[in-house]
């Protein structure tokens, strides 16, 4: 085919396709789409704990873990803050027991991490089932 014929064929094709128009869905198609969207919205997934909530939980857990590691062998956290000096805990004697060995701290970190990971997996699984 020459270039001119090719151009002519292109022009004929364009005209023919535009003449033939589009296929049309059945009547009420738009309403069905909107109904389906609205139905899904009624059962829309809203997480119990929002994203920022998870960030706060994660920050708190991290802070607690760091504190536990930092003060486990030397002194209690409350002693470090000077709270023990101000309040007399001598009768309770709980604070002095709040001491963790390196092994305990390690186990606690691992447990927290695994719980968080498990929560993430369970959340993902339920979300998938919901969808």
């Amino acid at each position: 085919m020459s270039i001119e014929e090719e151009k002519k064929l292109e022009a004929i094709t364009r005209r023919m396709i535009q003449d033939s128009g589009l296929e049309k869905p059945s009547a009420g198609f738009m309403n069905r789409v909107m109904l389906s969207i609205q139905k899904e919205q009624q059962y829309a997934y809203t997480p119990l704990i929002k994203k920022w909530g998870w960030y706060i939980i994660a920050s708190l857990l991290t802070a607690i873990t760091v504190i536990l590691i930092k003060f486990s062998d030397r002194s209690t956290f409350l002693e470090h803050l000077g709270v023990v000096k101000k309040i007399d805990f001598s009768n309770l004697d709980i604070v002095s027991k709040l001491q963790f060995s390196d092994t305990t701290s390690f186990v606690l970190i691992m447990a927290f991490s695994l719980i968080l990971f498990q929560m993430y997996l369970i959340k993902k699984m339920y979300f998938k089932q919901f969808k």
Binding site: I12, T13, I17, D19, S20, P25, F29, M30, V33, M34
Partner: protein, 190 residues
């Protein structure tokens, strides 16, 4: 870039006005349905696919950044949704052999088509287009009807620019041959 009207509807939808999305559905329903129909070749299945595509589009709207045209993005969703349905039904996209178009054939077919009445001509063209492989029908629709550029078509279908050019060239020739057959059949039956 997305045109202003689409952009406004998208913004309103994202702000929680679900009904604003119905304007987008109304505007694009024929094109979205046509793409699905060309791939699936069944009206019921095509309607289901088109509906799925609009619902997916609605849910993915927050991810739409407006870098591409909204229409191209939507067409890609319906194209992929229809292909998934095709795979699930294990249907394949057919193909046919193309012969060369000889000189004089072009004018003869065009003249005959011009003599035919609008509705009948439209039916003949539709019948010829429907005999093309599904993917080529979509390419023809996007290029000649929707007048998307080749680069925009690459955003809709997973085919390289060069490949689209080749396929469009082949489709044109096939379509012409199919139309010639339809016209000849019509001449014989008159």
């Amino acid at each position: 870039m997305t045109n202003l009207t689409d952009h406004n509807y998208i913004e309103k939808t994202l702000q929680g006005d679900t009904l604003a999305f119905s304007n987008l559905v109304e505007k694009y329903q024929d094109m979205v349905f046509s793409i699905a129909f060309k791939l699936l070749r069944n009206r019921e299945e095509a309607e289901d696919a088109a509906q799925d595509a609009f619902v997916k589009c609605y849910h993915s709207l927050p991810k739409f950044k407006g870098e591409a045209k909204f229409s191209s993005w939507l067409y890609r969703i319906v194209y992929n949704t229809s292909l998934d349905r095709l795979k699930a039904n294990k249907k394949s996209l057919g193909d046919m052999v193309v012969d060369e178009i000889s000189e004089g054939e072009l004018e003869s077919v065009e003249t005959t088509l011009n003599y035919i009445e609008g509705k009948e001509r439209s039916a003949i063209i539709k019948a010829a287009v429907e005999k093309l492989p599904s993917e080529e029908q979509v390419l023809i629709l996007l290029y000649y009807f929707e007048e998307l550029s080749l680069r925009e078509i690459t955003e809709v279908v997973d085919i390289s620019l060069e490949n689209i050019k080749v396929r469009l060239f082949r489709s044109r020739k096939k379509l012409f041959k199919l139309l010639k057959n339809e016209v000849e059949f019509l001449k014989r039956s008159v």
